[in-house]
């Protein structure tokens, strides 16, 4: 077994131990609830933990399969996210073909470019060419009502659900300084620090959060965000050995990723408020939809990708 596989297994094992601890904690709390009753807070917690199990196992399997597994997993996540976004986006019958093209042509092409390592094309394909092409397809159907609003919402969906998410597996194309195949571990590192940052932000914000960042949008607090970013930095520092950043560099990268991610979820809170949505869907029990789970990953991915390429490349 090579070192990369060994490290993946080791990391999975570490997360499994954590999840076992959380599951046992939940069961212990359940046992304290009197016979024949249920505590909704404990049940909600357990539902989240169970979903975490599913997500962690899926990611671990995809990473063990290798680049193809990771690319397919993120392509599917993009599809699920886009499906949620378009459900609540403004659209007219004239947009049917352009939206179908977005889902069934643009999305697979973008991930194909990632798989082929065509870095030049994958960075301009959606922001430039999909941006120009899809409005043409809509315009040919000749419905001008709210045209700019419609194509803008579609383009937003493409940018966040496909483009930004595809930059996570695009980390695979990063050439490690030592020439090894360990760039796949960068993805594990990135996902772990962003998700742990989210988790700490959530629970710390609930425990001792006071000052809200955007009171009309989201319950996020300054204290929660600081705690989340610090926790991400500490965890990133400890995980430094799987990255080419070194310990301090890894802590800084983790803090950066977590911070952009948390700001990203604020943007998503605003979008949800605008569209009158509470959860994007019910596909991940206890978490909402794919977009609810991935909002911070989506915003952090381009920043992490470009800083990795230009500072450490």
């Amino acid at each position: 077994m090579d070192r990369t596989t060994l490290d993946i297994l080791l990391l999975s094992l570490g997360v499994f131990v954590l999840l076992i601890a959380l599951t046992m904690l939940g069961e212990a709390l359940r046992a304290r609830v009197p016979q024949g009753r249920t505590n909704p807070v404990v049940e909600a917690f357990m539902m989240r933990v169970n979903s975490w199990w599913a997500l962690v196992i899926t990611l671990a399997l995809a990473v063990l399969i290798g680049p193809v597994g990771v690319i397919l997993l993120f392509a599917f996540a993009s599809f699920a996210a886009l499906r949620e976004f378009l459900t609540y986006a403004r659209k007219a019958r004239a947009d049917h073909l352009s939206l179908a093209l977005a889902c069934f042509v643009i999305l697979p092409l973008q991930y194909l470019f990632v798989a082929l390592d065509w870095t030049g094309l994958l960075t301009v394909f959606i922001p430039v060419y999909a941006f120009l092409l899809l409005p043409i397809v809509s315009a040919l159907r000749g419905d001008a009502s709210d045209f700019l609003g419609r194509v803008a919402q579609t383009q937003w969906g493409l940018m966040i659900c496909i483009y930004c998410l595809s930059l996570v597996p695009a980390l695979l194309t990063f050439d490690m300084p030592d020439g090894s195949d360990r760039s796949i571990l960068l993805i594990v590192f990135f996902i772990m620090v962003v998700q742990f940052g989210d988790l700490f932000e959530y629970y710390a914000g609930r425990q001792f959060g006071r000052r809200r960042i955007a009171p009309d949008l989201s319950p996020k607090t300054v204290e929660g965000v600081i705690a989340g970013v610090l926790a991400a930095a500490v965890i990133g520092g400890f995980l430094g050995w799987i990255t080419p950043f070194g310990m301090m560099g890894a802590a800084a990268m983790a803090a950066l990723a977590s911070f952009t991610g948390l700001l990203g979820s604020l943007v998503f809170a605003a979008i949800k408020r605008d569209r009158g949505v509470k959860d994007w869907s019910h596909l991940i029990p206890g978490h909402g939809g794919f977009l609810d789970q991935l909002d911070s990953v989506i915003f952090a991915a381009p920043v992490f990708y470009h800083v990795t390429l230009f500072v450490w490349g």
């Binding site: 459900t87 609540y88 403004r90 659209k91 049917h96 609003g149 419609r150 009158g276």
Partner: protein
């Protein structure tokens, strides 16, 4: 066997494209005899309802569908009667040999549940529902013990509008409301209005919002 397999494949496709989800708001997902009456905007309505029913309920539920549509080609004749186990009725009074109501009541008496679309045709207007046909009322009168369950299928007019070939992947929700029955001495128009209101009440407030 082949029908069972194709059925699972269709349900899986529907789930992949629309992540279709059931909202059991007014009833429990148990195998009780019911008539699900639903809004009709697309040919994909019936497969959506069929998909969200748990398998044990699916097997005893028969969609009521138009014979002229489902017998047109060999493929349809396999999918409609075999896969979905449709109760086929003829919409053209001059051509039919059997009374549609007789066929539906017979299916009910055999213990099946039914899926019906009381608007009779696909709704192409901006109104939420077309006026209901009398069938639902007659059925409710003839078999008063059967629960009539309003069933709203959301978003399908955007997933597959008439004339489009490729379905859009959008999330579809099927909402089951509280069952209604024809009340003692209730007239046809009063009942049909009550049924339509119960169905429209299940529609989401702002269904994505077409521009």
């Amino acid at each position: 066997m082949a029908a069972r397999f194709v059925g699972h494949a269709l349900a899986l496709t529907a789930r992949f494209i629309t992540a279709v989800r059931a909202d059991w708001r007014g009833i429990e997902p148990v195998a009780k005899q019911r008539v699900y009456f639903a809004n009709h905007v697309s040919n994909a309505d019936m497969p959506m309802i069929w998909t969200v029913l748990p398998v044990h309920m699916r097997r005893q539920t028969r969609p009521v569908a138009a014979a002229d549509y489902w017998l047109k080609t060999k493929l349809r004749a396999f999918i409609g009667p075999e896969v979905f186990n449709c109760v086929l009725i003829d919409r053209r009074p001059e051509a039919r040999s059997e009374d549609p109501m007789e066929k539906m009541l017979q299916a009910l008496d055999e213990g099946s549940s039914l899926i019906i679309f009381p608007e009779g045709n696909r709704n192409m207007t901006d109104d939420p529902l077309l006026p209901f046909r009398a069938g639902l009322y007659n059925m409710g009168r003839a078999r008063p013990h059967v629960d009539l369950v309003p069933t709203w299928v959301a978003n399908l007019n955007e997933i597959m509008p008439k004339g489009e070939v490729i379905p859009l992947p959008l999330i579809c929700t099927v909402t089951f409301g509280e069952p209604i029955h024809v009340a003692e001495g209730e007239g046809k128009d009063a009942f049909l209005k009550r049924a339509a209101d119960a169905l429209v009440a299940l529609a989401p407030q702002e269904p994505g919002g077409r521009a």
